[in-house]
Amino acid sequence: MTTFEFTILIAIGSLLAGLLGALTGLGGGVVIVPLLTLAFGVDIRYAIGASLVSVIATSSGAAAAYLKEGYSNIRVGMFLEVATTIGAVTGAYLAVSTPTKAIAIIFGVVLLYSAYSANKPPKDSQTDDPPDRWASLLKLDGEYPTARGEKSYHVRNVPAGFGLMYIAGVLSGLLGIGSGAVKVLAMDQAMRIPFKVSTTTSNFMIGVTAAASAGIYLHRGYIDPGIAMPVMLGVLAGALIGARILPGARVRTLRLVFSIVIAALAVEMILKGVKGMF
């Protein structure tokens, strides 16, 4: 394969990944690593470097639109970024010393979880628990727009959420993904933040989390311009197209199909990891 063909094929694959990721809410980053390693035979370290770069692009590109809508809670985001950036630095250092087959197996498990969580119906997460004193102290409570005007919400279980965010950061730094699924788990399930606020704030945080490990990846030589270029441009273009057509799209079936594809990729990564083929 020539450099030209290789680059174009990766760009097309990344565009599809970005498009499906945006339409289904799973994010494009999750399939980039399986795509590059399983389909193109790229070493997993180059793959996670390129994936991480694309994650920064889509998160930052999408954040502008979300911030305009007024769902994101920038205080929650900034406070939890303390946990995710510490985690991301930890994860990036772990990535250097962890055997690649172990990374492949962990990657597969996280993929399976992402596919599962994307298909769970979102439930109303507000409860009548007493207000969390950390939430009041840190001014985390907020409000978000609904059809019936601004609705206020309380943030709970701040220490548990902070701990989960650290884990989300470690996974992001170790695997070169946005860890959106774990971030939403921390905010939506643990901290009881409304679903729409959780997803948009999570997206807002992903870029900063990824930037915290990108410098370490760069210095370790994981970021190859020949791979990162078509991946970043492809995923970004796909995500932008996806955001355009999302309002009119029927995503439930698509999400299910994409989740099955992801689950299959996850199983293949785990099997190849166990056999030591990474």
């Binding site: 680059t7 035979g41 900034m78 510490i86 970043m232």
Partner: protein, 126 residues
């Protein structure tokens, strides 16, 4: 919101959103320009990515990348675009320090400075 603040959260979010979009567009345009240059001068079979060799030192460190990019080395031009991309969320955090200071929210100025310090630390360390 603190009374007497010069601006509010809403304006703050809009400016952050614009900053992020500008950074991504600039980085993507840069990477695309470098990518076209890279493909035009590429000859023959693709590099071997099956085995990990790591990038050469001149594509790993900021000042080396800038030096090579100025000589229009296509791979370094792409790499510089990726540096711009990595800098975008960092600029967002730096700007947030200013935003919280204008809101006189000193606790969040501190939290944001902690995040910024971590980002700078990880970027400079190797």
């Amino acid at each position: 919101m603190t009374s007497g603040a010069i601006w509010d959260d809403k304006q703050f979010e809009l400016v952050i959103g614009k900053l992020l979009r500008f950074g991504v567009i600039l980085a993507a345009a840069w990477v695309l320009a470098g990518g076209i240059h890279y493909l035009m001068q590429s000859r023959g079979a693709k590099p071997d990515y099956k085995a990990f060799h790591g990038e050469p030192a001149d594509l790993r460190y900021g000042h080396e990348i800038v030096h090579q990019a100025l000589q229009l080395n296509a791979r370094a031009v792409i790499q510089f675009g990726l540096l711009l991309l990595i800098a975008t969320p960092m600029a967002r955090v730096a700007f947030s320090v200013l935003g919280f200071a204008l809101e006189k929210d000193w606790m969040y100025v501190g939290i944001t400075l902690a995040v910024l310090t971590l980002l700078i630390y990880s970027f400079l360390s190797s």
